[in-house]
Each structure stands twice: as C-alpha cells, then as structure tokens.
C-alpha cells in the first residue's frame, strides 16, 4: 500500500476507529449488557412458561438487538463532528462514501459483533430450540450490517440537528420493519422445521443493495448536515 492511496486511507481510518473503540472497552460492553437486561425482563413480564418463551424467543432477540444497536448509533459520527475530523474526511481526496463505509464497518465490528456472539445465549435463556440457533446467528449476521448501514444514513441526517435521540428511533424503526420481518421469519420457520432459506435470501438481497447505496446516501446526508 502506497501512503496516500485510497486503500491506505481506508485501512488507516479503520485502524483508528478500532483503536479508539478499544481504548474505551467499557463502552463496547454496554450494548451487550443492555441486551441481556432487556431479554431478562421478558420472563418476568410474561411468566416463566418455557413453551410461551420458546414461541417468542426469536422475535424478542431481534427486537432487543435492534434497540441495542439504536442506542450505539448516536456515537457513530458525533465525536468526529465535534472534534472537527469529519471536515478533514470531507476535504480528503479519497471518496467520502468509501471512508464513511469504513466507519460503518468499524461500528458494526464494535457494536454488532458482540451482540451476535451473545445472541445464542440470550435465545437459550428464552428456551429457543438449539436446532434454530445457527439460523438465528446467520440471520443476525446478515441483518445487523443492514441495520448499521440504514442507521448510519439516518444518523448522518440528524448530525446537524440539535436534539436527535428519540427522533432517530422515530425515523429508523419504520424503515427496519422489513428487516425484522424477514430475520424473525427465518428463525420462526427453522423452529417449525420449515425451509428458512427464502427469508435469509431476501435479507441478503437487501444487504447487497444497502452495501452499494447506503455509504453513498450517508456521504450525501453528511454533506447536507455539515454545510451550514
């Protein structure tokens, strides 16, 4: 890699974001803790009946992961905008969409990957049949980058706004409805012993589309947010 090339810039940005995340290891644990606590609440609220919990396990895990990711999304661009490094990224000769894509990748690695790791444990707490666990992990592995990409576009849009916490939920959750339907549908199908490949394929198609379009949309949205 020659210094200053696009590859070098992307690698440097990725390394920087991961190093920053590693310096604040405690923050990586927070979404996981949040997910564990939310999932624990369900048996208390609905009663500890295994049959009932097994019915809702897949859906509960997906909604919990979605909410945990929503909490972590606010920190995706805000520190960079506050300390001025976002302006530097915009002025860089490399395409902004690519650099923003690296930031989204770093966010997925630090915020979503730990959630995928604990998801089988969470599902086990809710008595999800072990046979459905691999499908759950596969669906999460495709659905969470999709949520990261969709969320990044909307976070970029609210980056210039004064208050954005609840607004982000209001904007993101309607757009996440198809992701939740297909991901939870795949797990439910696996649980009932039905073929589950079709919803997973739909998720994959959505992810392919989002990988191409979301960084471009995200870069455009950031330029709108920063132009004042």
């Amino acid at each position: 890699m020659t210094p200053g090339s696009t590859t070098a810039a992307c690698a440097a940005l990725l390394r920087r974001d991961l190093t920053l995340a590693w310096r604040r290891r405690g923050d990586i644990a927070l979404p996981v803790l949040y997910a564990v606590i939310v999932v624990t609440l369900f048996p208390f609220a609905l009663g500890p009946e295994p049959a009932l919990l097994a019915r809702i396990a897949g859906g509960v895990v997906f909604v919990t992961v979605l909410l945990a990711m929503l909490l972590s999304l606010d920190g995706l661009f805000r520190p960079d905008i506050e300390d001025g490094s976002m302006e530097q990224l915009m002025l860089a000769p490399q395409p902004l969409a690519l650099l923003v894509g690296m930031k989204i990748l770093a966010h997925w690695l630090t915020a979503a990957l730990p959630l995928i790791v604990v998801a089988p444990v969470l599902a086990g707490m809710l008595h999800l049949p072990p046979a459905a666990a691999p499908v759950l992990v596969l669906a999460l592995a495709i659905a969470t980058p999709l949520l990261s990409l969709l969320g990044a576009v909307l976070v970029a849009l609210t980056a210039g706004a004064k208050r954005s916490g609840m607004l982000l939920a209001l904007m993101l959750l309607p757009l996440c409805v198809p992701v939740v339907i297909f991901a939870a549908g795949a797990v439910a199908a696996a649980q009932d012993g039905l073929p589950w490949i079709a919803p997973v394929a739909w998720l994959g198609a959505g992810l392919a589309l989002a990988v191409v379009l979301a960084p471009l949309a995200c870069a455009a949205a950031l330029r709108i947010a920063m132009e004042s």
């Binding site: 609210t158 210039g160 706004a161 959750l173 309607p174 949309a217 709108i224």
Partner: protein, 255 residues
C-alpha cells in the same frame, strides 16, 4: 411553439410570483373542494343504495378510500418535490415538500381511524396485523419522522434538505402500501375501483367516490397553498417583496 409553458413554470418557482398565484388559486380550490365534497357526501350517504353484503356500514368508504388515495398521492408529490429541491436546489420545491407532510400525515391518520371504525362491524376487530394496515401505519410513522426531522434543525433550509432526503429514503414504502392488497391475501378486501376497465362496484357508488377524490385533491391544493404562503412570508421576511406587501409599494424608496 409552446415555449410559454416552461417559461411560466420557471417564473412560478420564484417566491413572490408563487405567493400571488397561490393567493389567487386558494379561494377557488377551497370553495370547489367544499361544494364537491358536499355533493359527494350527499351522493354517498343519501343517494347511493345500501350494500347487499355490508348494509349501510360500507358508506364510510366515501371517506376512507379517498383519504387512503390521498395519503399515497401526497407522498408521491412530496417525493417529486423533494427530488427537485435536492437536485436543483429550488427553495419553493423544498417548501412544497415540507408543507405537504402534515397534510399527508392527517390523511393517513384519517385513513387509519376510519378503517378501524369500518373494521369493527365488518371484521369484528378494531385492528389486525394485516399487510395493508401495518404498511399504512408505517407510512404514518414515516410522515411523523419527516415532520420531526424538519423541525429539529435551527436552520430551516438545512432542516428542509435533511427531511427531503428522508422523504426519498422513505419512498420505498409507497409501492408496498399500494400493492400490499394484491401481494398478500389477507383480511383487507381487494381494490374494487378500476380506472381502466370495468369497476367491481355499482355506478351509483362510483360517482360519489370519484367526486370525493376530486374534492380531496382540491382541498389538498387549497391547504398546501395557504401553508406555503404562510411559510414564504415567514422565511422571506427580510426580502423587499414582503416589505412591499406589508407597507405598500416602494415606500422606503421615497422616505
């Protein structure tokens, strides 16, 4: 040959000219909307016969279906206006997109409310998680998100541009709402009105529906124009044409 059409549209994009144009159209659109709406309600609630299957309860269709059409139509208009505003940076297009959102949200809310009122006697439930109902609910959430994003910025134009972007992102939902009845076979009845080919509904029921459809469109125009006029006055407050409007022509020049 027809060179004056693009020229006229181009001139209409200027705030003072649109302000005067909207002011001239507004009373006519509102008056016609009230007259046609009254005729449609009379035709639907009094003249049209009771349905062979649903009795008199079906009459809510004359409110429900036109509002449902408007909830999608306004989103389509917003998408076009938002695209024009983002690409060519025409301020008026941004204003039209943003001022359409509350009207569209209101029509979506009316659709959901009348739908649940209709659902109770027909299906025995206020709400069911059927494809068309949920996608219409998601449409309402998208409208609310757009309104919320627009108002969360201190700078109006920046808020309008960000929200216009969200309009384009949310546009994927519109075809889903429109075709959900055909794609998923659920509790909601299929569409009975066809613009091309014969409708699956009696002619005495069609004409009030179509009249109401025109009336709601005119109401949208009237409501949009009055909102845009108010917005233009607010956002262009410092400009010469607004000062002229408030103080009379060219007062500051003589003083």
């Amino acid at each position: 040959m027809a060179n004056w059409v693009p020229l006229w549209l181009h001139r209409l994009g200027s705030p003072p000219i649109f302000y005067r144009f909207a002011g001239a159209v507004y009373p006519w659109a509102l008056g016609l909307a009230i007259v046609l709406g009254g005729i449609a309600l009379y035709g639907g609630l009094v003249v049209a016969p009771a349905d062979y299957q649903q009795g008199d309860a079906y009459r809510i269709i004359f409110i429900h279906v036109p509002s449902a059409w408007m909830s999608l139509f306004i989103y389509a208009i917003m998408t076009v206006a938002a695209f024009i505003g983002l690409v060519w940076r025409i301020k008026l297009a941004e204003t039209v997109a943003m001022e359409s959102a509350p009207i569209g949200a209101a029509f979506t809310a009316i659709t959901l409310a009348t739908g649940s009122l209709w659902g109770k006697p027909m299906w025995g439930t206020w709400w069911t998680w059927d494809a068309r109902l949920t996608s219409e609910l998601v449409l309402l959430f998208i409208y609310l998100g757009i309104i919320g994003l627009y108002h969360s910025f201190e700078d109006r134009r920046q808020g309008a541009r960000a929200a216009a972007f969200l309009v384009l992102v949310g546009a994927v939902n519109v075809p889903i709402v429109h075709f959900s009845v055909n794609w998923w076979n659920t509790l909601h009845q299929g569409s009975t009105i066809r613009l091309l080919g014969p409708s699956h509904i009696a002619a005495s029921m069609v004409w009030p529906l179509l009249t109401m459809m025109v009336a709601t469109k005119l109401y949208y125009i009237a409501s949009l124009f009055s909102r845009v006029r108010a917005d233009l006055i607010a956002s262009e407050g410092g400009k010469a044409w607004v000062r002229e409007l408030a103080l009379g022509p060219a007062q500051d020049g003589k003083a």
